[in-house]
C-alpha cells in the first residue's frame, strides 16, 4: 500500500489539487537541463512525499539530499534548493555556496521557494553576497491533501510563530490556500470564525477576493458552502489530553508523520531485528478506515471479532468441498495482510496503554479537565518533575493545568518553574518564556472561567459507551473536545446562541456572508438537514484549524459527519496535524 493516499472517494476533487502541484514541481525541475542535485529541506521533503513518489523524482535525473549545515557533496554542476521560505535555511544555502567558491567549484544554483519567494530570505542571500549567483523561482505548494477529507497547509510552526513571535506570515498562507481552493471549487459564501488568527484569516481572504476575484464564470457552482475557522489557541485543552482513538493513540505513542508511522520491523512480525519499517496509514486501507476513528478499546474488540471469524473460516477450510466455497475463502484472505498489520500495531499499542503510568496519567488528565481538585493536580505534576519524567510530558500537563485554571498563583508558578529549571537544566528557560508569552503557562491574574465553559458546553459526558457512542466525547473517553463542540454549534446554529460562551474564550469571533455569486441557490443558514441535498450531492463545510488539529478531533468530526441528520460532508484543513507533544516541542528552542 502506498503512502500517497488514493483520494478516490474524496467529497472534493482533492486529486486535481495534488496533480496540479505534481505537474508544477515536475515542470520546474524539468526546466533545468541535465543532471542535478535536489537539496530539499527535511520537513518539506515529507510534504513532497505526499505529492509525488520519490522514485518519480529520481526518474527526472535527480540526486536527492536533505538540507543541513553540512556542504552538499555531489558531482552535479547544478544544485537546486527546494526550501520553504524560512530565514534559517538561507544561512545554510549561503554557506554552501561560499564553501564551493572557496574551493573554486563552479556550479549553477537554483533556489526554489515554497510556496513563494520572500523578501526577507532574499535579503539574507543578498547580504551574504550570493544572491547574484542563484536563480530564484517559486513552487507554489500551499497545501497537501493528507487523506480524502484532510488537507494540511504544512505550517508546523504556525502556532508558535503567531503566539510567541507575532509572526503572522502563516495566516496569509492559510488565506491564500483557501483562496486557491476557491479558485477550484468556488467562493465559499458563509464564514464563521473564532479566535484572533481566524478572524484575521477571514479578513485577508476577503481582501484577496477583492484583489484577485474568483469570478462566477470560473466555477459552475460553488461546491463548498461554508467555512469554519478556529484558532488552536481557543482550545488548548484538547491537544494536551491523550487521544484515545486508534489513530490518535498511534500518533501519541509512535508519531504519525506524513501519513505513515515508523516502527521496528519486529513489531510488525518481521524476522529482521532492529530494522525500521514504514507503515502507511490512510483510508486506502479499508480496515484502517473502519477502525481509525474508534476508541481504542473498541478497536481491540473489533479486531478480535474479525479474527475470530477468520479463524473459524480457517478451520472450516478443511471441510470445504466446493470450488466456490474455496473462492470465497480466498477472497476473505485478501484482507489478511490488513488484519495482521493492525493486530500487530494494536498489540504494540497495548504495551503502552496497559502501563500503570499511562492509566494514572489518563486519570490525572480527567481530573485536570474537571478542574475541581487543584491540590491533587499540583502535587501530581510536582512529583512528575521529581521523577524527571520526560519534559514534554510534564509541560503538557502543566499547560493543561494552567489553561484550565487560567494560570497558577504566583508563588506556585515560580516554585514549579524553579523545580523545572533545576531538574531539566536552565536552557529550558526559553521554553518557559515562550509558553508564558503564548499564555499557555502563566501567572494567575483572574479567576478561571473554564468551569462555566465546561458546564455550558457539556464537555464532560458521564457514562460514555465507547462501543456505541452517542457523543463525540468517546474520542477522549468522557471528555468532549471543546473545539469540536464549538464547531458542532457553528454548523448547527451559528455563533449567536453561544455568544456568551465565546466571549469567555480567547479572541474575537465573526460570522459573515461573502458575495461572489449574485444569487446563491442555497438557503442562508446552515440549519436543518433538508437544504443540503439539492442535487443529490451533500453540501460541504470546510473546517480550518489554525495552529493544528489532533487525530482525535478529526475522528470526532468524522463522527459528526456520519451522524444521522447531518447534511454536510466535512473537509478538515489544518496548519499541521499535531498532538500535545509536537505542539509543546515547537515552543522549545534548541539551545546548548
Amino acid at each position: 500500500m502506498a503512502q500517497i493516499p488514493s483520494l478516490d472517494n474524496a467529497p472534493l476533487n482533492l486529486k486535481s489539487i495534488r496533480e496540479k502541484s505534481q505537474r508544477e514541481l515536475v515542470n520546474l525541475l524539468k526546466d533545468i537541463r541535465g543532471s542535478k542535485c535536489l537539496v530539499i529541506d527535511p520537513k518539506l521533503s515529507g510534504s513532497v512525499s505526499l505529492i509525488i513518489q520519490t522514485s518519480a523524482l529520481k526518474e527526472l535525473g535527480l540526486e536527492l539530499r536533505h538540507l543541513s549545515a553540512e556542504p552538499v557533496l555531489t558531482e552535479c554542476t547544478k544544485v537546486v534548493y527546494l526550501v520553504r521560505s524560512q530565514l534559517s535555511f538561507m544561512k545554510f544555502i549561503a554557506s554552501h555556496i561560499q564553501n564551493d567558491i572557496s574551493k573554486a567549484i563552479q556550479r549553477d544554483y537554483y533556489v526554489y521557494f515554497v510556496p513563494r519567494r520572500s523578501v526577507a530570505c532574499e535579503k539574507i542571500l543578498e547580504q551574504e553576497k550570493v544572491h547574484d549567483l542563484v536563480t530564484v523561482k517559486e513552487f507554489p505548494l500551499y497545501m497537501v491533501p493528507l487523506d480524502e477529507d484532510v488537507i494540511s497547509f504544512e505550517l508546523e510552526l504556525s502556532e508558535k510563530d503567531c503566539l510567541v513571535d507575532g509572526d503572522v506570515s502563516s495566516l496569509w498562507h492559510v488565506a491564500k490556500a483557501i483562496h486557491e481552493l476557491e479558485f477550484s471549487f468556488g467562493v465559499i459564501s458563509k464564514v464563521r470564525a473564532k479566535g484572533k488568527a481566524s478572524v484575521r484569516v477571514a479578513d485577508i481572504l476577503n481582501r484577496m477576493q477583492v484583489e484577485e476575484p474568483v469570478s462566477s464564470n470560473d466555477v459552475a457552482r460553488p461546491e463548498v458552502d461554508a467555512l469554519i475557522l478556529l484558532d488552536r489557541e481557543v482550545d488548548m485543552v484538547t491537544p494536551m489530553c491523550s487521544q484515545l482513538t486508534y489513530e490518535g493513540l498511534i500518533d501519541e505513542f509512535l508519531h504519525i508523520s506524513n501519513g505513515a508511522v515508523e516502527v521496528d520491523s519486529a513489531v510488525m512480525g518481521a524476522q529482521q531485528e532492529g530494522k525500521k519499517m514504514k507503515v502507511p496509514l490512510n483510508s486506502s486501507d479499508k480496515l484502517f478506515k473502519e477502525t481509525r476513528d474508534l476508541n481504542f478499546e473498541v478497536v481491540v474488540q473489533v479486531l478480535r471479532q474479525k479474527a475470530t471469524t477468520m479463524k473459524e473460516d480457517y478451520t472450516e477450510i478443511n471441510s470445504t468441498q466446493t470450488v466456490s466455497e474455496l473462492k470465497d475463502f480466498v477472497k476473505k484472505l485478501n484482507s489478511l495482510p490488513e488484519m495482521t498489520r493492525h493486530i500487530h500495531l494494536a498489540q504494540h499499542l497495548t504495551t503502552f496503554t496497559s502501563k500503570q503510568s499511562f492509566l494514572s496519567k489518563l486519570d490525572m488528565e480527567q481530573t485536570l479537565v474537571e478542574a475541581e481538585s487543584y491540590d491533587i493536580c499540583f502535587e501530581y505534576i510536582e512529583e512528575m518533575i521529581h521523577k524527571q519524567e520526560p519534559l514534554t510530558n510534564v509541560l503538557r500537563l502543566l499547560v493543561l493545568f494552567s489553561v484550565t485554571n487560567s494560570g497558577l498563583p504566583k508563588k506556585q508558578f515560580d516554585y514549579i518553574r524553579t523545580e523545572l529549571l533545576h531538574s531539566y537544566g536552565f536552557e529550558h528557560v526559553i521554553a518557559l518564556n515562550n509558553l508564558e508569552k503564548a499564555g499557555l503557562l502563566k501567572k494567575q491574574e483572574f479567576k478561571s472561567n473554564w468551569q462555566t465553559v465546561k458546564r455550558t458546553l457539556k464537555l464532560i459526558v458521564e457514562d460514555t459507551d465507547t462501543s456505541r457512542p452517542e457523543d463525540i466525547a468517546y474520542v477522549y473517553s468522557g471528555y468532549a473536545p471543546l473545539s469540536i463542540r464549538l464547531i458542532q454549534q457553528a454548523i448547527h446554529s451559528g455563533w449567536r446562541p453561544i455568544e456568551d460562551i465565546l466571549k469567555l474564550l480567547p479572541g474575537p469571533h465573526l460570522e459573515t456572508k461573502r458575495s461572489g455569486f449574485p444569487s446563491s441557490p442555497l438557503i442562508d443558514s446552515l440549519h436543518g438537514a433538508s437544504n443540503g441535498v439539492a442535487d443529490g450531492r451533500r453540501s460541504i463545510v470546510l473546517v480550518v484549524f489554525i495552529g493544528g488539529v489532533t487525530f482525535a478531533e478529526i475522528s470526532a468530526l468524522r463522527y459528526l459527519a456520519s451522524k444521522e441528520g447531518m447534511a454536510y460532508d466535512l473537509i478538515i484543513a489544518t496548519t499541521k496535524i499535531v498532538n500535545g507533544a509536537t505542539l509543546i516541542e515547537t515552543f522549545m528552542e534548541k539551545l546548548g
Binding site: L87, I204, R207, E212, T308, M310, T340, S354, K387, F426
Partner: protein, 858 residues
C-alpha cells in the same frame, strides 16, 4: 440608372478602372500648400504645415514668426506652436509610424513633436559631421531617416525609438569631388532588405549605388538580355543613364526611376527586369512621384498628374492648384488646398457591381434589391438568374460595401447583401455583421472632426488596437472608449491613458475635485491599475493626488511599492500590515531600514506591532547586535538579557569553550550580565534569579570538573549534577550542591533514591530510607527498585506504602497478582481497581491467541 453614375466617374488605365472620390472638403482657410512645407502621415494621419523657409513668399496679414500647425486629414486644426529653433533651415519633416513629427534642420538637430505640437525632449543631433557639414537632404521611412550632408556623407537613424545616428559607407566620388552631388536618393526599409539593415539608393552621375553601413555598391538594372545582343556596340550603361528621381515601391521590390531623358522606368530590385518604360513629354523631372498601391505610378508636375501603368496609355488628371501625394498601402491620397481625394484602383467587387453593363451575379443582386424596393416582379427574376451563385453575389456586395466611403452606398450594398442572404442557405451570416461593425468604426473615425479617412484595407493592416491608441494619442478618448466597448476590447488602455492625460491637462484643478473626476471614470473598468495612474500623477509632481489615488488600488502588491516610491512610508507600512502579506511588510521594513538612521527606524516600527515583530524575527536570525540596539533603545532590557543568555549557550557550543577551558570566564560574565539586566525590571526577578543560579551552577560544575578531573559536569542540570556526584559516591559534593541551591527534601529523596538504584547500592538505599521518615513516603524507593527491576529490593519497601491502592498497584507491577488483589480488596474503592487488574492481566493474552492461526498463512 444610379449605377451608371457611379462608374461614370471612373477612369480606365489599360484594363483597370481607377476612381478618385473626394473624401473631404478641407476645413482649413488660407492654407496654400505651395508656400509651405507639408508632412502628411499615412493611414489617414495628421498633416503638419509650416511656412517653407527655402522659398521667398509674400507675407499677408500674418506674423513673421513661423508657426508649425498640425491638422487632421480634414483640415481641422489640432494644434499649433511657434517655430523658433536655431540650427538653420528646416530640411526634412515627416511623421513616424507612432505619429511623432520628426523635423530635421540644417545643422542636423532633430526636433520631435507629438500630435499636440508639444516638443518632445530631448532634442537629438545627427552627429558632429552633420553639424559641421550641414544637412542638405533627408529621406524618411516609418521608423527612420537617412540624411545627406553637403560633404556627400550619409548618416542614418534606423530606429526612432533609440535615436542612435550612425554613418553609412561613403559613396565613391562624392567625398572627393565637391562639385559632384547626388541627383536623387531613395531608401529601402530594413524590413525589405536581405541584410535586415537599411539600404540607401544614391544616384550619382550615371550610376546608382546601394549603400549600407559597410559598403557602397554600384548596381545596374540594364544589363543586356540575349535579344539585345545586337546592340552590343552601344554602351549599355546609357540605356538608363543618369537618374533624376527615384522611389521604392511600398513592398520594397521595385524601383521607379525618372531618367535624364524623361522616361519613367520601373525595374525589379532583385530580378532587374524592366516592368514599365514610358517616355514622358516633360523634360523636367516631376515634383512628386508616388506609387498608387502596387499597380501604377503617379508623377506630378504643376497642374498635371500623370498615372502610368504597365500597359496602355497613361491617365492624366488636371489640377488648377498645387497638390500633395500621400501614398497609402492601397492607393494615394491627393491633398490640395481645398480638398482631399483618394485615388485607388476600383476593387473587383465594386467593379463587378457597378461596371456599366455588368451582368455579374452581384450586379444582378444589387439590381434585384432596386426592383424589390420598387415592388417590381423583376426582383424575383433576377434572383432566379443568379440562384447558383447567390452566396458569391452576397459576398461581393459585402466586400464592395466595405470599400465604399459613401455611407448611402454602403447601406445600399449591405441591404442588397442581406436581401440576397435571405435566399441563400449556406452563407456565413456573421459576415454582414462583421462588415457592419467595421464600417461603423470606419465611419466614426472618418467624421471630419476626427479626420482619419481610413480605407477598410488600411484599417485591417493598421489593426483596431493601433487605431485606438492613435485616437487616445490624439485625445479622442470618448470615441476610443466607445470603439473599444463596441468591439469588445479591453477598455483599460483607454481609460488609463485618459486618466493620465487628464492629470497632465489639469495642473490647477484642486486634488479632491480632480480625484473625483478620475475615480468616476476609473471605476468603469474593473481591475484597472490605480497604481499606474498614481505613478503618473507622481511624475507630474502631484504627489498628494498620487497618494489619494493609490489609496484606491486594491492590489496591495502594487500599492505598497508605489507608496514607498512616493515617500509615503507610514501609509505603506499601514497598508502592508492591513494586507496581511508579511512579505510586503518586510519590503517596507527593509526600505525604511535602509533609508533612515537606526534610531528613527526603531521609533517608526516600535509602535507597529507586526512590523516590530517581523523585524525582531528577522534580526534574531541575522542581526543580533542590531537587535540588541533596538531593544535597548526601546527600553526592552529583559529582551537584551535573554539575548545575552542565549549567546552564553552559543559560546558553550563552541568546542574551544568547553570543559574547563578559560573561556568559561566570559561565559559566566555574560550570564551574570543577563541576570543584572533582568533585575532592572520588577517583572523579571524570576529570570534574574535563575540566571544568577545558572552562573553559580556553572562555577560549581567547573570546580567539580577540576577536583574530579572528569569533564562530565558542565551544562548538566542541578539534578544531574547531584546525581553524578552520588554516582561518583561523592556524597559531600552532592550535599553541597543540594544546600547551595536549596533543593527541597521531596526532590532530594526522589533524586537520591533513583541515583542509588542506578549504581545498585542497595545498602545505601536502605540506610537512606531509614535516615528519617521520608517526606515523600516510601514511593521513591519502591519506584526506584521496580525501575531497576529488583523485585526483592522493592518488596522491602512495598509493605511500607501507606496508601492501599498504591500498594496494590505496586504488587501488580512486580507481577504478584495475589498480593495485589489482596491489597485491592482491602482498598475501599468499590472494586474498581480489582476490575482493572483483571483487564490488564488478560489483555495481552488476547493478541497472542489471535495471531496464532495466521502465522502459517501470512
Amino acid at each position: 440608372m444610379a449605377n451608371v453614375s457611379v462608374a461614370a466617374e471612373w477612369q480606365l488605365l489599360y484594363n483597370r478602372y481607377y476612381r478618385k472620390p473626394e473624401i473631404y472638403q478641407m476645413r482649413w482657410k488660407h492654407v496654400d500648400l505651395s508656400r509651405n512645407k507639408v508632412a502628411c502621415a499615412s493611414f489617414g494621419g495628421p498633416i503638419a504645415v509650416i511656412r517653407d523657409d527655402s522659398k521667398i513668399v509674400q507675407l499677408y496679414a500674418e506674423s513673421a514668426l513661423r508657426k508649425l500647425r498640425i491638422f487632421n486629414s480634414a483640415g481641422v486644426l489640432l494644434s499649433e506652436t511657434i517655430w523658433k529653433h536655431p540650427g538653420g533651415r528646416l530640411i526634412g519633416m515627416s511623421w513616424s509610424d507612432d505619429q511623432t513629427l520628426i523635423c530635421i534642420v540644417q545643422d542636423g538637430t532633430i526636433y520631435r513633436y507629438n500630435i499636440h505640437a508639444e516638443l518632445m525632449e530631448p532634442n537629438v543631433s545627427m552627429g558632429k559631421e552633420c553639424f559641421e557639414q550641414n544637412v542638405v537632404e533627408c529621406v524618411f521611412w516609418g521608423n527612420g531617416v537617412v540624411c545627406l550632408t553637403e560633404g556627400g556623407e550619409l548618416f542614418c537613424i534606423s530606429d526612432f525609438k533609440t535615436m542612435k545616428p550612425y554613418k553609412l559607407a561613403d559613396v565613391p566620388g562624392l567625398i572627393e569631388d565637391d562639385m559632384l552631388q547626388p541627383t536623387c536618393l531613395a531608401v529601402r526599409e530594413p524590413q525589405y532588405t536581405m541584410s535586415g539593415n537599411v539600404e540607401v539608393l544614391v544616384g550619382v552621375g550615371e550610376e546608382i549605388f546601394v549603400v549600407d553601413e559597410d559598403e557602397a555598391q554600384s548596381i545596374r538594372f540594364d544589363e543586356p538580355s540575349v535579344e539585345d545582343s545586337e546592340m552590343q556596340n552601344d554602351d549599355y550603361g546609357n540605356l538608363i543613364g543618369a537618374v533624376q528621381k527615384m522611389i521604392v515601391s511600398p513592398n520594397g521590390k521595385f524601383l521607379t526611376l525618372f531618367t535624364h531623358d524623361s522616361r519613367v522606368v520601373v525595374v525589379g530590385m532583385e530580378s532587374k527586369k524592366i516592368a514599365i518604360d514610358y517616355s514622358c513629354e516633360s523634360a523636367l523631372p516631376p515634383q512628386q512621384m508616388a506609387w498608387c498601391g502596387m499597380d501604377s505610378v503617379l508623377l506630378y508636375w504643376d497642374e498635371d498628374l500623370l498615372m502610368v501603368g504597365p500597359l496602355g496609355d497613361p491617365v492624366h488628371y488636371f489640377y488648377d492648384e498645387p497638390v500633395i501625394l500621400i501614398p497609402e498601402c492601397d492607393g494615394v491620397r491627393i491633398l490640395s488646398n481645398t480638398s482631399l481625394e483618394f485615388l485607388q484602383r476600383v476593387p473587383d467587387s465594386t467593379e463587378s457591381i457597378f461596371k456599366i453593363g455588368s451582368t455579374s451575379p452581384a450586379a444582378l443582386l444589387y439590381d434585384a434589391l432596386d426592383h424589390f424596393d420598387r415592388r417590381s416582379a423583376k426582383a424575383d427574376e433576377n434572383l432566379r438568374l443568379i440562384r447558383s451563385s447567390l452566396s458569391e453575389a452576397v459576398e461581393s456586395c459585402i466586400d464592395a460595401a466595405g470599400h465604399e466611403f459613401n455611407v448611402t452606398r454602403q447601406r445600399a450594398l449591405l441591404r442588397a447583401a442581406s436581401y440576397g442572404q435571405a435566399f441563400s442557405s449556406n452563407f456565413q451570416r456573421d459576415r454582414v455583421q462583421e462588415t457592419c461593425r467595421t464600417l461603423r468604426v470606419l465611419n466614426a473615425v472618418r467624421d471630419p472632426d476626427i479626420g482619419i479617412p481610413l480605407s477598410i484595407q488600411q484599417y485591417k493592416l493598421l489593426t483596431a488596437m493601433v487605431l485606438i491608441s492613435r485616437l487616445i494619442n490624439a485625445h479622442s478618448h470618448l470615441l476610443a472608449l466607445r470603439i473599444s466597448e463596441y468591439l469588445g476590447m479591453n477598455k483599460e488602455v483607454v481609460i488609463m491613458h485618459w486618466a493620465c492625460a487628464k492629470i497632465t491637462a489639469s495642473p490647477s484643478t484642486p486634488e479632491a475635485h480632480l480625484l473625483e473626476i478620475l475615480l468616476d471614470k476609473l471605476q468603469l473598468c474593473r481591475g484597472i491599475s490605480y497604481a499606474a495612474v498614481a505613478t503618473h500623477a507622481d511624475n507630474c509632481g502631484r504627489r498628494k493626488l498620487a497618494a489619494m489615488l493609490v489609496e484606491h488600488e486594491p492590489r496591495s502588491t502594487k500599492q505598497v511599492p508605489l507608496l514607498l516610491s512616493i515617500g509615503e512610508e507610514d501609509t505603506a507600512l499601514v497598508k502592508a500590515t492591513e494586507s496581511g502579506d508579511t512579505d510586503l511588510v518586510y519590503l517596507v521594513i527593509f526600505h525604511i531600514w535602509q533609508k533612515r538612521p537606526p534610531l528613527e527606524f526603531f521609533a517608526m516600527i516600535q509602535g507597529r506591532v507586526l512590523a516590530r515583530d517581523l523585524f525582531v524575527a528577522y534580526a534574531r536570525c541575522h542581526k543580533h547586535e542590531f537587535l540588541k540596539d533596538f531593544f535597548l533603545s526601546t527600553g526592552q532590557i529583559h529582551e537584551v538579557a535573554f539575548l545575552l543568555w542565549k549567546e552564553s549557550w552559543e559560546m558553550g557550543k563552541n568546542p574551544m569553550a568547553s570543559k574547563g577551558s578559560p573561556l568559561h570566564g566570559p561565559r559566566i560574565k555574560l550570564i551574570e550580565k543577563a541576570s543584572n539586566l533582568f533585575s532592572q525590571t520588577k517583572e523579571h526577578t524570576f529570570e534574574s534569579k535563575a540566571a544568577e543560579e545558572h552562573a553559580k551552577l556553572l562555577r560549581i560544575q567547573h570546580e567539580l570538573e577540576v577536583s574530579t578531573k572528569q569533564a562530565i559536569f558542565v551544562d548538566s542540570s542541578i539534578n544531574d549534577t547531584i546525581r553524578t556526584c552520588i554516582v561518583l559516591r561523592n556524597n559531600r559534593a552532592a550535599a553541597k550542591v543540594k544546600s547551595e541551591f536549596k533543593v527541597s527534601d521531596k526532590r532530594w529523596y526522589w533524586l537520591k533514591a533513583f541515583a542509588l538504584a542506578t549504581i545498585k547500592d542497595w545498602d545505601a538505599l536502605e540506610k537512606f530510607s531509614k535516615e528519617k521518615r521520608p517526606p515523600t513516603g516510601f514511593r521513591p524507593f519502591v519506584e526506584a527498585c521496580i525501575d531497576a527491576d529488583e523485585k526483592a529490593e522493592a518488596l522491602k519497601y512495598i509493605p511500607k506504602l501507606s496508601d492501599l491502592v498504591e500498594r496494590g498497584e505496586a504488587y501488580a507491577r512486580i507481577g504478584m497478582a495475589k498480593e495485589a488483589a489482596d491489597a485491592a480488596a482491602q482498598a475501599n474503592d468499590g472494586g474498581e481497581l480489582l476490575e482493572r487488574f483483571r483487564k490488564t492481566f488478560s489483555q495481552n493474552a488476547i493478541f497472542d491467541t489471535l495471531k496464532m492461526p495466521f502465522q502459517g498463512v501470512s
